[in-house]
C-alpha cells in the first residue's frame, strides 16, 4: 500500500516555541488516518504544513511521492481540506456558496455541486442563507466544499467540533462512506479518542509536538482488549480439555502454541490447573485487560480527553 502523504522529520518553530518536534507520519492510500492529541499538541500545525499553508523549519513533506513545491499550486489540487471553522458568505445559500468556489477553484464534472451536497446530506435546492445554518450544517458545507473538486485526499481538522451527538454520528458516517465507496484517503484530527477510534484505520498519538506512537488501529486493538492468552505445549489436547470442562467457553486457537480465552473471568487458575494436571506444559499466561482509553492515557501520561 503506497503512502499518499509522507511527513519526515517535520519540525516547526514559532520564535522560541517548538510547535512540532521531528514529526514523521505515513498516510496510506484509501485509509482513514486519525491524529489524536490534546488541544495545542500540534495537530492543526501538522495539517497546515501538509497543505503548504505554513513552512516547516526543517523536515520534508511528500505528496504522492514528490516533495512539496511551494510554487506549484497544482499538486494541492488532489487534496481537499477543512481547517478550523469553515468560512462562507453568510447571505448566500449552500449552493450559491459552492457555485462561487466552483468558479474560483474549478470542478471536475458538470453536477459537482449537486453531488457534493448529496454526499453530505444538505438540500440542493434550499435557499437558506449560510448565516442561519446550524453548526452541523456549517461543518457539512465545509466538507462539501472540500469535496467539490473531487480530491483524492481529504484533510479535516476536528470535523466533529461543536456538533451534537446526532451530528457527530452523521459526519462519522459520511467519512466512512467516502473511504469505503469512493476510495478517498482521509486525514482527520481530534482530541476525542472515541471519535477517532470508531473511524480511523491508522492512528498517531501527538503530545507536545511529538509523535508518541503511530500504528494501525488493528494492531493497537489486538494489543488491548480483554482476554487471557495461554502458551502451551499441546494445543490440541488443551482445546479438547477446555471444551470438555467448560460449557460455551469462548476461545480460539491462534497457532500451534497459543490459545486465547476471551472475556476475563476468574477461571485462569482452574484452567491452568486443568492443563497441568493433564500433562500439558503451560509456558506463559498473559492477561490483556487494557481498554483503548487506558492505553492512550498511559501513552500521553494524563487524561486523554
Amino acid at each position: 500500500m503506497e503512502n499518499i502523504i509522507k511527513v519526515k522529520g517535520l519540525t516547526k518553530k514559532y520564535n522560541n516555541f517548538l510547535a512540532l518536534d521531528n514529526v514523521s507520519l505515513e498516510i496510506k492510500k484509501g485509509r482513514i488516518y486519525g491524529i489524536l492529541g490534546r488541544n495545542g499538541a500540534g495537530k492543526t500545525t501538522i495539517m497546515k504544513s501538509i497543505l503548504g499553508l505554513t513552512f516547516p523549519t526543517s523536515g520534508e513533506i511528500y505528496i504522492k511521492g514528490a516533495p512539496i513545491d511551494y510554487k506549484d499550486k497544482k499538486q494541492f489540487f488532489t487534496i481537499g481540506s477543512m481547517i478550523e471553522t469553515p468560512a462562507f458568505y453568510s447571505n448566500l445559500s449552500a449552493r450559491e456558496n459552492l457555485e462561487l468556489f466552483a468558479l474560483i477553484r474549478g470542478i471536475t464534472q458538470k453536477n459537482a455541486i449537486e453531488k457534493a451536497l448529496d454526499i453530505v446530506g444538505l438540500e440542493i435546492n434550499s435557499n437558506k442563507p449560510f448565516a442561519s445554518f446550524s453548526m452541523g450544517m456549517k461543518q457539512r458545507l465545509g466538507i462539501a466544499n472540500a469535496l467539490l473538486h473531487e480530491p483524492e485526499v481529504l484533510i479535516l481538522d476536528e470535523p466533529t467540533n461543536g456538533l451534537d451527538p446526532m451530528g457527530i454520528v452523521e459526519v462519522r458516517n459520511i467519512l466512512i462512506d467516502l473511504c469505503r465507496d469512493f476510495s478517498k484517503t482521509i486525514l482527520i484530527s481530534s482530541h476525542i479518542l472515541s471519535e477517532i477510534e470508531k473511524v480511523a484505520d491508522d492512528i498517531a498519538f501527538i503530545e507536545k509536538g511529538r509523535v508518541v506512537e503511530e500504528s494501525s488501529m488493528e494492531s493497537i486493538r489486538s494489543r488491548c482488549g480483554k482476554y487471557t492468552s495461554y502458551v502451551v505445549s499441546d494445543v490440541y489436547n488443551s482445546a479438547r480439555l477446555l471444551e470438555e470442562n467448560y460449557e460455551n467457553l469462548n476461545y480460539i486457537v491462534i497457532d500451534n502454541k497459543e490459545i486465547r480465552v476471551f472475556e476475563l473471568n476468574d477461571k485462569t487458575n482452574s484452567i491452568n490447573r486443568l492443563l497441568i494436571n493433564n500433562g500439558i506444559d503451560v509456558f506463559q499466561i498473559t492477561t490483556q485487560n487494557e481498554s483503548l482509553e487506558e492505553y492512550f492515557k498511559k501513552l500521553t501520561g494524563g487524561d486523554g480527553k
Partner: protein
C-alpha cells in the same frame, strides 16, 4: 491620417487579444496533455479541474468521466481481493479451532488414555465433529462456487407446492425431536414454476435449519401463497429474532448472530441462501423483531 492611426491601433489590439487567447488555449491544452500522461502511467485518481464557465470545461468533464470509470473498475477489483483476504483469515480460525479440538480427542484415544465407555463417547464426539467440519467445508465450497459463477442451474418446470412439501417433510422428525410445533399451509393444487430442484431444496433446507437450530423458537410456520405472477413461500419462527444492528449483515458469509463460538452449523447458511436465490432469480425478503421472531419470504416467478 487620424483614421489610419485608429485603424492600426484597433488592429494591434485585436492581434494582441488573439495572441493572448492562443496563449491561454495552449496553456489549457498543455495542462490536459500532462493530465492524460499522468493518467496513462497509472494514476487514475487524477482529474482535470476547470471552472464551469470555461469553454474547455465540457472536454475536461468528459475526460474525467472516462478516468473515473477506469478508477472504479480498479477499486472494485481491489475490494474483492480485500474481501477474500479477510475471509481467508477468519475462516482459517473457523477451521483451525474445530480441527484442534478434534485432534485433542483423537490423540487422547490414540494414546490409550481412555477406554470403555469414555472411549466410546470420545469416538462419538470426534465423529460428530468431523461431520460438522465436513458440512462446513462443503458449504464453503458451494458458496465459493456460487460466487465465482461456476454453479450451473438445471431448471425444469415443476409443481412448487409438491417440492416445498417434500423439502419440509424431511424436517418433521427433527422438529419433533426439538419439540418445535409446526404449521404448514400449502395449497393442494398444482402451481407450476421453473426451478432447479436441488437449489430450491437447499434454500428451504437452510432457512428451516436456521429457524430450527439458531432461532431457539417454539413454533415454525410455512405458508405458500399463489399470487398473480409470483408464488410467495414464507418461513417464519417465533424465536430470538435478529438484532436491529445485525440486520444488514446476516447475509454476509462470515456473520453469526450468536456470538458464542460453539453454535452448531456454519455461518454460511444464509449467505448460501442469498447467492442461490439470486442465481435462481428469486426475490428474498426478511423481517425480524428481536425477541419475537423472524420470517423469510421467497418470491418465485410462475411459469407462463
Amino acid at each position: 491620417m487620424f483614421y489610419r492611426k485608429l485603424l492600426l491601433l484597433i488592429l494591434l489590439i485585436i492581434i494582441v487579444y488573439l495572441i493572448y487567447k492562443r496563449y491561454m488555449e495552449k496553456k489549457k491544452l498543455t495542462w490536459l496533455k500532462n493530465l492524460l500522461r499522468e493518467v496513462e502511467s497509472g494514476d487514475y485518481g487524477k482529474r482535470g479541474v476547470i471552472p464551469p464557465n470555461d469553454e474547455y470545461s465540457e472536454i475536461y468533464y468528459l475526460i474525467n468521466e472516462i478516468i473515473r470509470k477506469n478508477q472504479n473498475d480498479i477499486i472494485q477489483i481491489n475490494r474483492l481481493n480485500q474481501q477474500n483476504k479477510r475471509m481467508l483469515t477468519s475462516l482459517s480460525h473457523d477451521i483451525k479451532t474445530p480441527v484442534a479440538s478434534l485432534l485433542g480427542y483423537l490423540e487422547t484415544i490414540d494414546k490409550g488414555l481412555v477406554d470403555g465407555v469414555e472411549k466410546e463417547e470420545y469416538l462419538k464426539i470426534a465423529l460428530n465433529k468431523t461431520y460438522k467440519l465436513k458440512e462446513y467445508i462443503n458449504d464453503l465450497f458451494q458458496l465459493l462456487q456460487l460466487e465465482s459463477g461456476e454453479y450451473m442451474l438445471e431448471n425444469h418446470p415443476c409443481n412448487i407446492c409438491e417440492e416445498t412439501r417434500k423439502a419440509f417433510i424431511s424436517w418433521v422428525p427433527i422438529l419433533e425431536e426439538h419439540n418445535i410445533k409446526y404449521n404448514v399451509s400449502i395449497p393442494e393444487n398444482r402451481v407450476v414454476t421453473i426451478l432447479d430442484v436441488k437449489a430450491y431444496e437447499r434454500i428451504l433446507d437452510n432457512l428451516i435449519k436456521n429457524a430450527t437450530i439458531h432461532s431457539k423458537c417454539e413454533e415454525i410456520t410455512i405458508t405458500l401463497i399463489e399470487k398473480e405472477e409470483i408464488v410467495q413461500v414464507k418461513i417464519s419462527d417465533n424465536g430470538i429474532g435478529i438484532p436491529e444492528d445485525s440486520k444488514d449483515m446476516i447475509m454476509d458469509r462470515l456473520y453469526k448472530v450468536d456470538e458464542s463460538r460453539n453454535t452448531k452449523g456454519s455461518g454460511l447458511g444464509l449467505a448460501i441462501v442469498k447467492e442461490l436465490s439470486d442465481k435462481c432469480n428469486m426475490l428474498l425478503e426478511y423481517n425480524s423483531e428481536e425477541g419475537k421472531g423472524s420470517s423469510f419470504i421467497l418470491g418465485v416467478k410462475k411459469a407462463l
